[in-house]
Assembly symmetry: C2
Homo-oligomer: 232 residues x 2
DNA sequence: CAGAACTGTGTCTAGAGTACACTGTGTCTG
DNA sequence: CAGACACAGTGTACTCTAGACACAGTTCTG
């Protein structure tokens, strides 16, 4: 919890401008943005304090005046990278349409910042934007006969689906991820069809179309709808 | 793809015993098992070649005779850690019961080896056990009116749900993960209820019971069932 | 005994983070 | 109002950890 505490402070607390001393040449925003640029371009492994500093025209030690360490920098990058949630209350349509939009927008964010997937496993600090996303989803489901716990569970399930598909897409390079996935599995399977017969048959039948996100969302939302309808 | 290729060879190809030279003191299995023990106990960050070697009573360079590098070691650990899939064909009941069991068993594996979640984001090599899990799921759905692509999508969606809940559980320490999650969110929210009103209300109403896995699985499988019933 | 296969020692490199000196800037005091 | 001073920002030099390579030494079998 120790590291998360410092990250929480950075994410949530307003930065107070210091009075005395030289003017800062950098800002948290500049540093986070630069970090995001690097991670977008070359992945999280390529994100080093050195490289962030270089791009900003300073030495890495300058960064430690703004950010306690790399973990906190990444936490900042995540919250800024995911960005503000969509404003669903302005949307027409019921909870289903809203959640569908919500999930697809989240997918787009993850697709734009694939490193955010790696960076968001395990214990970590939650930022305001991230909590904002959750707020939007819960707001969309408020008023339905679902309990509070169930509302959260729906949101979590949707996040799971979005993350999973985004992960596959990221692993397979950007274009035609499912096609690539099929090909990769076919490559492994060739010569071993007897060991994985059902999988081989299914792959032969697979169209390789990019429908996984749609399909999963539909299943989940159908399931939620069924529950809501039953309660009404 | 370069690293994955060497990992694939290690995962799939039979190791040929060498004739000449001293007897190897170690084996791939011993090394992978030791790695799993360390990661289980202290997390993936604590997994160093040094530490694996120490526990085996050798220097780290000895390991490089068996494993090309750390990436490949982790790939081995994943496949061994996830282990063999459950044998669903022996089960009574239809596809739904089978998939439910499949998902819950997968959850148990991830719960036992939380580091496997971190280690399975991004491009990586797929091992025989992992493919075996996919085989079981597809076999369970073969015979339903779903297309090949849809069958794979169902499996992927389930994996997403399992991973998501396992991730939350891992992040929150083992016992009562959802309770802990609620508490953590409440802590962040306190004093900011005006900014996240729906979330605050929902949290106040949340029972904190560990039902997220059940709930999500039910939604997903309900959705799949709806689709199957419609086609019949 | 020759050659191949294991293992250990020493070394290199990258990257996170610390210690500390130096420099600039506002505030406080005589 | 001028100078001292405290404090903030930045840079240089260093430590520490960890993965990986080179190569010497050792062991075993054909």
């Amino acid at each position: 919890m120790a590291v998360e505490a410092t990250a929480m402070a950075l994410l949530w607390e307003q930065q107070t401008a210091s009075k005395r001393g030289p003017k800062p040449t950098l800002s948290l925003d500049m540093i986070a943005t630069t970090g995001i640029e690097i991670a977008d371009a070359d992945g999280l492994a390529a994100l080093t304090m050195q490289r962030v500093a270089e791009r900003l025209g300073v030495t890495k030690m300058a960064l430690y005046r703004y950010v306690p360490g790399k973990v906190e920098l990444v936490a900042l990058m995540i919250d800024r990278g995911i960005g503000e949630p969509p404003r669903l209350e302005r949307m027409t349509g019921g909870w289903r349409r809203k959640l569908d939009t919500w999930a697809r927008q989240m997918f787009d964010r993850f697709a734009g910042h694939p490193w955010a997937l790696e960076a968001t496993v395990g214990a970590r600090a939650i930022g305001p934007n991230e909590l904002g996303w959750l707020e939007e989803a819960t707001a969309a489901l408020t008023g339905t006969p679902l309990t509070g716990g169930e509302i959260l569970d729906v949101a979590v399930t949707l996040i799971g689906q979005v993350r999973m598909i985004a992960q596959q897409a990221a692993a397979m390079g950007t274009r035609d991820p499912e096609q690539a996935m099929d090909e990769a599995m076919n490559a492994v399977l060739s010569g071993r069809e007897d060991r994985f017969p059902a999988l081989a048959a299914v792959l032969a039948d697979s169209a390789g179309k990019n429908q996984a996100l749609d399909f999963g969302l539909r299943c989940i939302l159908d399931g939620v709808q069924l529950l809501i309808d039953r309660r009404n």
